[in-house]
Subunit: 203 residues, 2 copies
């Protein structure tokens, strides 16, 4: 299975800027494939290095440890943060609806579904990768942060919103519970959107 | 790891009623151990038969297939349905609070925590076992069914309540997200209880 990937953003230096940037890019490409195929725990730094055609010391030079490489890969090489980030833009009163819809779309789209399945596989074998990723996405949401609560309540509300959506997605796409698998995305968004909204704005 | 088990209910025939009941009981004991250790997918009928000291044809005679054995084991040999069932008794207006509290207690208690971890492991490798179990527990909740909605809305509300609690428990106990792991059970119940209530009564 080859995971789909985004083109690198235009602002990243390529070509004549040379070796470093090409190496970093090759490592991220290889990491995306390996994490999607094997999950966070099983994908080894050595195997990623081998697929990228570099020494594993090179990966440590650029990214430090595997957890950092994982988060950087998800943030740089997938459309997930971009699509969730896009859902943040809009009227504050429909934030819950937009986030629920964007998240469930990620589970349906051909270019993100395998990544999310890989992430769940990772999450069940190691808390580190998933927790880090949630931190990254949570951080992005906080940057925009249209909700007025104190920082502590805000993080708690975000945790409940995120785990609620996660539970629904697992129930629909992995457990394939008949009640959830039989509903359209629109119906689910309508049902859970107000709850997500409350968690994000009233915590 | 040996999973804790309940004593068989007093009404089940034992002793002189003889071989059938003893064999059934031995199979359920073995099944509970194997499912807790290996999860639904990996625990084989042959291995369960071997641990119970019977032929695997005997398991099929009593229980049919592995999915039925799994659900029967969870319903007969664990305290999970009993404790969730107990939470159903009480004023309808605090049902959400009671269910959230009972469910999170299952994740904290020494006699049920390993079973739930086994169930999640099962659920991530096979949708069959977990979906069946949810059906059994859902069926019990429907029996009491203090909520007035039509059958379809009721099942949907139940699915959202169940996957919400599942997501929170996974976030707290498996992913160990700092925001959730740092909250007491009481704080979490207070935060999610009203949502669970709404899903069960307003769907």
């Amino acid at each position: 299975m080859t995971a789909p990937r985004q083109d690198p953003p235009a602002k990243r230096p390529v070509g004549r800027r040379g070796g470093d940037s090409d190496t970093r890019s090759a490592i991220l490409d290889a990491a995306l494939d390996m994490f999607a195929e094997q999950g966070f725990e099983k994908a080894s730094m050595r195997a990623i290095a081998s697929r990228a055609g570099v020494d594993s010391a090179m990966i440590r030079h650029f990214f430090g440890n595997k957890a950092t490489l994982f988060v950087t890969t998800m943030a740089d090489r997938t459309v997930i943060p971009e699509r969730m980030g896009a859902a943040l833009t809009g009227p504050p009163e429909s934030l819950g609806i937009r986030l629920a819809d964007a998240y469930l779309r990620l589970w349906e789209a051909d270019d993100t579904r395998p990544i999310l399945l890989g992430l769940v596989r990772s999450a069940m074998t190691s808390s580190q990768g998933a927790a880090l990723l949630l931190e990254v996405i949570g951080g992005r949401i906080q940057e925009i942060a249209p909700f007025p609560a104190g920082a502590d309540g805000r993080m708690r509300g975000f945790a409940f919103a995120a785990t609620h959506l996660f539970g629904v997605a697992v129930g629909r796409h992995i457990l394939q519970l008949p009640m959830l698998a039989g509903m359209s995305r629109e119906e689910i968004v309508e049902a859970v959107g107000p709850t997500i909204q409350r968690y994000l704005t009233e915590s």
